[in-house]
């Protein structure tokens, strides 16, 4: 009976530093952030507890409300857009088009680039004086407008467009992998029954790809919640606060406005929102199924 005990202890010891990291860096910092949010901290954390005062301040702040609305609009448009565009691209590539490899490379390469690079490229394309707008106007379309990043009403959609350009390839790659796994018998059967290909895709293939679609939605949602880099590079939240996002609100209040009580309250609201969606998903995805591979 000595062998199993020794085996247990080696693995347990190896896990100890990881426990330390998880407890200190993930759980500890999270609790600390929540704790600060109940204090009157400005530049440095203080122990002056003020209950929910920071949260009241937060939800009476126009900038925060606009940020939240923007995150929802951006999230819905970006995720639906990337799913639809990515799926269409995958279906097109699945039709045996010529230059399939080249096309796949073209559709996916923006995903290799950072959101900073993406934002700066689109900032240049949307440059009001020298960008695409000027060129198209010189062609004779005087009313053409593409200076979205500096337009109060369009800045948020500029972020959506740049985001779609960067991330649709991800959905395409995931979906294409799924389409290649669809049984050829299904296609044969549908041909014999005379069902048009688009209906097969919509009503047979899409339900089959459900796990991949869920994965894509999760991956895209993470970029929505983390949307900071793209905003900083493309619009910097402007004009005014028209394209502000929660992540940027927190960062500004933490590091430039010395308002850490308010910032941590905002971060806590972000945490609760994300956790409310995530916990059921992680449970369903990873722990409900019987685990395989773990030896006694």
């Amino acid at each position: 009976m000595t062998a199993p005990r020794k085996r247990l202890s080696t693995a347990t010891l190896v896990l100890l530093p990881f426990w330390a990291v998880v407890i200190a860096a993930y759980i500890g910092t999270m609790l600390w952030t929540v704790q600060i949010s109940f204090t009157a901290s400005k530049l440095l954390p203080v122990d002056d507890y003020v209950g929910f005062a920071q949260y009241e301040r937060l939800f009476s702040s126009t900038r925060w409300i606009v940020s939240m609305q923007n995150a929802v609009i951006f999230g819905v448009l970006f995720i639906t857009g990337a799913l639809v565009l990515g799926f269409l691209l995958a279906v097109v590539l699945d039709q045996r088009v010529r230059f399939e490899n080249t096309l796949r490379t073209i559709f996916l390469y923006p995903y290799a680039m950072s959101f900073i690079v993406t934002g700066l490229i689109w900032q240049w394309l949307m440059n009001p004086g020298l960008g695409i707008q000027k060129t198209v106007r010189d062609w004779g379309f005087e009313s053409f407008s593409f200076a979205w990043a500096v337009d109060r009403d369009m800045a948020l959609y500029a972020l959506v467009l740049a985001g779609l350009w960067q991330a649709s390839g991800l959905v395409m790659a995931l979906m294409l992998a799924g389409l290649r796994g669809v049984d050829e018998e299904i296609w044969k059967a549908s041909r014999i029954d005379g069902i048009p290909a688009w209906r097969v895709y919509l009503f047979v293939v899409v339900p089959m790809l459900r796990p991949l679609i869920v994965t894509a939605v999760v991956l895209l949602s993470i970029s929505v919640v983390k949307a900071f880099d793209l905003v900083v590079a493309l619009t910097n939240g402007g004009p005014g606060i028209s394209s502000d996002m929660p992540a940027k609100f927190v960062m500004d209040n933490l590091f430039t406005r010395q308002n850490i009580g308010l910032a941590t309250a905002a971060a806590t609201v972000m945490l609760i929102t994300v956790a409310a969606v995530l916990v059921p998903w992680i449970y369903a995805e990873y722990f409900r199924k019987t685990r395989k591979g773990a030896a006694a």
Binding site: R7, F18, M113, E184, A267, A296
Partner: protein
Amino acid sequence: MSLETARPRGPHGESAALAFRATEPGRAAGSAAAHERSPTRGRKPRHLTIGRIGLYGFVAIAAAFFILPAVVMILTSLKTMPEIREGSIFALPESFDLTAWIKAWSSACTGLDCDGIRVGFWNSVLITVPSTILSIAAGATLGYALSFWRVKGADILFAVLLLGAFLPYQIFLYPMVRAFSMVGLYNTLFCIVIVHVIFGLPIMTLIFRNFYAGLPVELFNAARVDGGGFFRIFWNVMLPMSTPILIVAAILQITNIWNDFILGLVFAGRENLPMTVQLNNVVNSTYGEREYNLNMAATILTAAVPLLVYFVSGRWFVRGIAAGAVKG
């Protein structure tokens, strides 16, 4: 079964996480056969139909949408400023002018310093190399431990890590800054590397756990019977079979860490700012006349490393995306 005979199973292990590739030849053969019978309906008709023309139309528009920004970026970087002001954004440069590139690399200004984007490049190299190696080592060890060794509470550890992968950085950042300042490490190279390892741990653990969970348990049991301990089995049995997942992990981490902005901005300190942060400073905080050709050259230079990884790695890059996504 001895350790030696166990090893040749390696190539099969790969298919556990990356199975989709293997299905392609089969599908191609199947649909080719199906085509003999129905040339006009289905997935690949032989002659040009209206649908086929529409299909290629869509492909052309989509390809233009994805490729044009890169083309404009390259064209702009090769022009002179007067050319940019007068001509169309899509116009070809009059001459092949690399001045903007040289300036971007060696004398672009961020605030008072005018040493070019190369400063950020070397900082990013110094950050990316150790961060990638350490986070892969940590993730592989933990993923292996979670897959094969039954340790109390391991499920909870993994659950917290997974949750951590999805939470916004904003919830962790400030206390981390305070903690690093207390021990005097804030704004150092060591600090940013540690932070990258911490935040890289969830995804690295996940992909290694998924990979090892796809390996046959008998392999591990045989090694146990032969008297292998935790590290010996890891080093002699598991790692030699892990090449595919190590490549995938390296691609993921090099790209993620090189492309990081927020962590570098917060933790690296003025002396170690990564290339993405420096690039944003060059482009978004210039005073006076903006040099768009220089900005675009600097942007291409910053994107060059992950793009090189992408073009060289080819299908492996896609596997990286899938590896993080496939469940174990």
